[in-house]
């Protein structure tokens, strides 16, 4: 009798599990499979292999080498270009986003959205060409500036130098700022500024007490995302520099292609892992802030 109950119970419990699986997880399986195989698996394997020596034993030597020269300079340069390009692009980008969102009509806003989308994705050789044509030795802007009395190339300037690369990076960082920061501005409600004014606040008061405090978290978040974008940009740096400026993405690319030989086979993987850690330090706070401000941004 008892055994019958158990026998009868087991399949129904199995069926219940199956039913709950179908109901709760099954529809997500295709997405989970693709993300798991094409994303989580490579990243997990990258992390695992970065801890292997040439004869596949556990080691942290790869990481020791990764923080020494010349890779140390590579990281410092990459972090520097990420911070500077984000810092220079953030404020003008935010102002531009503000005027476009608050003063522009809908057709203009949509055109700008499309253009920003394309421009934020430019990079590599096409972007390099545009800047050679404008700011190269024979570039139009170079000639114009020379005519005005400012010889760009009098000093050590070149497009492949740190400063040159910084200027070029702004070309995709500015539109990126406009894209990332616009939602925050859209969600600043007109009622708030009207309410403030009705209570006797001046325009200045409104911005100091309400506008800026509300936008500040999103501004910091956008800055962090821009940092990550500048820090990890590969294509443009690859097109413009000729090995004169050590940057981590280029060093990884060189190791991956076998252009650069290293005593440690898995050094490139360790560099990749360190990049992920640095990038995560910026992107995770970005996501956290986004999530928080999404609460009041919902209409």
């Amino acid at each position: 009798m008892t055994s019958q109950v158990i026998e009868g119970g087991a399949p129904s419990r199995g069926r219940a599990f199956l039913a709950s699986f179908i109901k709760n997880i099954l529809p997500a399986v295709p997405l989970l499979l693709i993300v798991g195989f094409f994303f989580l698996f490579p990243i997990a394997r990258l992390i695992y292999v970065s801890f292997l020596s040439n004869d596949n034993t556990f080691t942290i030597d790869n990481f020791k080498t990764a923080v020494q020269e010349p890779y140390r300079t590579g990281f410092l340069n990459s972090i520097k270009i990420g911070v500077f390009s984000a810092a220079i692009a953030a404020f003008p980008g935010a102002i531009a986003a503000y005027f476009i969102e608050t003063r522009g009509n809908s057709k203009l806003r949509r055109t700008i959205a499309v253009m920003s989308g394309v421009l934020a994705n430019t990079g590599g050789v096409p972007l390099a060409f545009m800047f050679y044509a404008a700011l190269g030795m024979q570039g139009y802007l170079t000639k114009f500036l020379k005519y005005l009395g400012w010889d760009l190339y009098a000093g050590t300037f070149s497009l492949g130098s740190f400063i040159g690369l910084l200027v070029v990076y702004l070309y995709f960082q500015l539109p990126l700022m406009v894209i990332v920061f616009s939602p925050a501005i859209v969600s600043l409600r007109r009622e708030w500024s009207e309410a403030a004014r009705n209570l006797g606040a001046s325009q200045f008061n409104y911005w100091i007490r309400i506008g800026i405090p509300l936008l500040f978290p999103s501004f910091i978040a956008s800055f962090l995302l821009l940092f990550a974008s500048g820090f990890s940009a590969y294509a443009t740096a690859n097109a413009l520099t000729v090995g004169n400026l050590p940057l981590t993405p280029l060093q990884i690319g060189g190791l991956l292609d076998g252009n650069v030989s290293a005593a440690q086979l898995n050094l490139g993987k360790a560099l990749g892992v360190v990049m992920i850690v640095i990038s995560a330090c910026a992107v995770i706070p970005y996501l956290a802030i986004q999530r928080r401000s999404a609460k009041w941004q919902k209409r």
Binding site: I34, I43, I100, N121, F129, A133, L170, A235
Partner: protein
């Protein structure tokens, strides 16, 4: 109100657009001027564009890139629209997990992802160019996911689905004939975004040793620089045109899922 705003002259806006415009268009126009130079005759002409189009590889690579981008868009829509619809309807516990997963690609620099991809996949995956659309899908996932998520949030999904289901539509028809048209703004934005990203992807493609249109441009630059500039200009203008057509075609109301 909106009308009067539109007519009124907006000095700060005009100034902003002028400054941005200079920054964006001076490099672009300079490069364009280079691309229409004809060094032999000293004048201007479309020589380099004609040269580029006559290259056998031009259509080969542009078609290949478009085809890969098309596959990426298909994967994105086929996987994300049903999954997200279900997530929104079912209040499943995995929603938090999937929300988090979808944002994770933002954290990983593409170079690091490329290294991981190179050492992980079995031969049969590495040997087919079809690995690229899946990897592009991952790169576009944070944006595509969020865009569709916003779209689905802004509609009374439950009511619409129940209406369609009780009118006798099966799930497939409910999604294709009811949900997708209702959130077409988000769907179009997702298509535009995924398509543009796949069409221009360079880092991952080149590090995995595949050839697509963007990597071909780099290759051409080694022996015909003006021709390569012409191709670069096209590689900027083509996605721009495609995106403009896609965005401007969609009625405005549905574009602003957030409001």
């Amino acid at each position: 109100m909106a009308k009067t705003l539109r007519v009124r002259f907006q000095p700060p806006l005009v100034l902003t657009l002028l400054i941005l415009g200079f920054f964006v268009f001076i490099p672009m126009i300079s490069a364009f001027e280079y691309s229409i130079r004809t060094p032999l005759t000293g004048g201007y002409g479309w020589t380099h564009y004609i040269w580029a189009i006559r290259e056998d590889d031009f259509f080969h690579y542009i078609l290949r890139s478009m085809w890969l981008a098309g596959v990426t868009v298909t994967i994105t829509l086929f996987v994300l629209v049903p999954t997200l619809t279900w997530l929104h309807l079912s209040r499943s516990k995995v929603r938090g997990l999937i929300d988090g997963l979808s944002l994770l690609p933002l954290v990983i620099p593409v170079v690091a992802f490329a290294v991981g991809a190179q050492i992980s996949f079995p031969e049969f995956v590495q040997n087919t160019v079809l690995e690229l659309p899946f990897l592009y899908f991952v790169l576009a996932l944070p944006y595509a996911y969020r865009s569709l998520d916003i779209g689905l949030n802004s509609i009374p999904l439950k009511t619409i689905t129940e209406a369609a289901r009780s009118a006798g539509a099966n799930w497939w028809r409910t999604i294709t004939a009811v949900i997708v048209p209702v959130i077409r703004g988000s769907v179009m934005a997702t298509i535009a975004l995924t398509f543009a990203l796949s069409l221009g992807e360079y880092t991952l493609t080149v590090l995995l040793h595949w050839d697509t249109f963007p990597t071909w441009v780099t290759f051409v630059a080694q022996d015909n620089i003006l021709g390569a500039i012409a191709i670069s200009m096209m590689s900027l203008i083509i996605p721009f045109l495609i995106l403009t057509v896609i965005t401007l075609f969609v009625p405005e109301r549905s574009m602003q899922g957030r409001k």
